[in-house]
C-alpha cells in the first residue's frame, strides 16, 4: 500500500490526471481508507481553487488612458 508520505508526493500527478491507471487505483484506495489523506487532498484542492480566485490589481487610470490613446492611433 501507498504510504501517506508517498501520497503527498503523488498528489499533483493525480490532480493533473497524469498517474498511470494502477497508481490512480492505489491513490484512490489509500484516500478511501485514510481520513488524514482525505483531509490533505481536500485542503490541497481548496488551496488550488483559492489561487484561481486571487484577484489582480486594477489597471492604473493613467495607464488606461494612455493605452486607449494608443488604440485610437492604431485604428487609423
Amino acid at each position: 500500500m501507498l504510504t501517506c508520505q508517498e501520497l503527498t508526493e503523488l498528489v499533483t500527478d493525480y490532480l493533473e490526471g497524469r498517474l498511470s491507471l494502477w497508481d490512480r487505483v492505489r491513490f484512490r484506495l489509500h484516500v478511501g481508507m485514510c481520513r488524514h489523506c482525505r483531509a490533505f487532498l481536500h485542503d490541497r484542492k481548496l488551496a488550488i481553487e483559492t489561487l484561481g480566485k486571487l484577484p489582480a490589481d486594477p489597471i492604473p487610470p493613467v495607464v488606461r488612458d494612455e493605452l486607449l490613446e494608443k488604440f485610437r492611433g492604431w485604428k487609423r
Binding site: 490541497r44 489561487l51 486571487l54 493605452l67 486607449l68
Partner: protein, 235 residues
C-alpha cells in the same frame, strides 16, 4: 470518487506530451466563439472592446511579468510593450489559441527578451534549477517511520476560496508565498493555477517539457499549501 477530483476538469488524462515538442495548435485552449467575437470588435476599432480587454488583463499581465523581471516598474513597461505587441498582432490573429493564451505568450516573450537585454531578469531556463529540486511536499517530521501521518493535517472544513480570500491575513500570506517562489515555479503556478491555463499551454508558453512543468507545479503547490497551513494553524 468522481470527476470532481480533476480540479479544472479540462485536462484529465492528457495524452503524454512528447518532451521537447511544443504543439502550436489545438487543444483545450483554442479560441472560443467569444474570442472570435471580441477580435471582430477590436478589428472594427471598437474602443469599448479594447477597454474591456485591458481592464480584464492588465493587472494579471503585471502579475505574470513580475515573475520575469525584478521590479514593478519594469513589469509595467513589459506589459505596455505587450499591449503594443497585441495591437501589432491583432490583424494576423488566427484563432489557433485562446486570446488569453496568445496574450500571455506575447508577454512571456517580451519579458524574457527585455530581461536578457537589461540583465535585470530572473534567469529562466526550462530546466528546474537548484531551487526547484529536493524539497519534500510536506515536512518529513510530520510522518512516522512507517510513512503514515504522525501530525495529521487539519481539514479546512469551514473554508471556501471566497472566505479565505476575505481574510486579509490569509490572502496576504498566499500572495507573499507566491512572490517567494523560485522564478520557474512561480511562472508555472501563476499560469496553471492562478490563470487556469491548460498544462499543455503552460509548457508551450514557457517552452518547458511536460515533466518539468509538473515537477515545478508540484513544488509550487506544495509550498503554497504549507504557507496556508501555517497561517490557518496560527489562528
Amino acid at each position: 470518487m468522481d470527476r470532481s477530483d480533476d480540479i479544472r476538469g479540462a485536462t484529465p488524462r492528457n495524452p503524454p506530451a512528447k518532451v521537447g515538442v511544443h504543439r502550436a495548435t489545438g487543444g483545450a485552449d483554442s479560441a472560443t466563439p467569444e474570442d472570435a467575437a471580441l477580435i471582430e470588435r477590436l478589428l472594427a476599432g471598437d474602443e469599448a472592446a479594447f477597454a474591456g480587454l485591458i481592464d480584464g488583463f492588465h493587472g494579471r499581465l503585471v502579475r505574470l511579468a513580475r515573475t520575469f523581471v525584478k521590479d514593478q516598474a519594469t513589469a509595467e513597461e513589459v506589459v505596455q510593450d505587450t499591449w503594443v505587441g497585441v495591437l501589432d498582432g491583432l490583424r494576423g490573429f488566427e484563432g489557433r489559441s485562446a486570446i488569453k493564451t496568445w496574450i500571455f505568450r506575447i508577454l512571456v516573450n517580451r519579458a524574457k527578451t527585455r530581461g536578457v537585454r537589461e540583465a535585470r531578469s530572473v534567469p529562466f531556463s526550462g530546466l528546474p534549477g537548484l531551487d526547484d529540486v529536493g524539497e519534500p511536499a510536506v515536512d518529513p517530521s510530520r510522518f512516522g517511520s512507517d510513512g503514515m501521518w504522525a501530525d495529521p493535517p487539519r481539514r479546512w472544513e469551514d473554508d471556501t476560496p471566497e472566505t479565505l480570500l476575505l481574510r486579509e491575513e490569509a490572502r496576504g500570506r498566499l500572495e507573499q508565498a507566491v512572490e517567494d517562489l523560485p522564478a520557474r515555479q512561480r511562472a508555472v503556478l501563476v499560469l496553471r493555477d492562478i490563470e487556469g491555463v491548460s498544462a499543455d499551454e503552460v509548457c508551450n508558453i514557457l517552452e518547458i517539457a511536460d515533466t518539468n512543468q509538473r515537477v515545478l507545479l508540484h513544488r509550487a503547490r506544495s509550498a503554497l499549501h504549507r504557507a496556508l497551513d501555517r497561517c490557518l494553524e496560527e489562528e
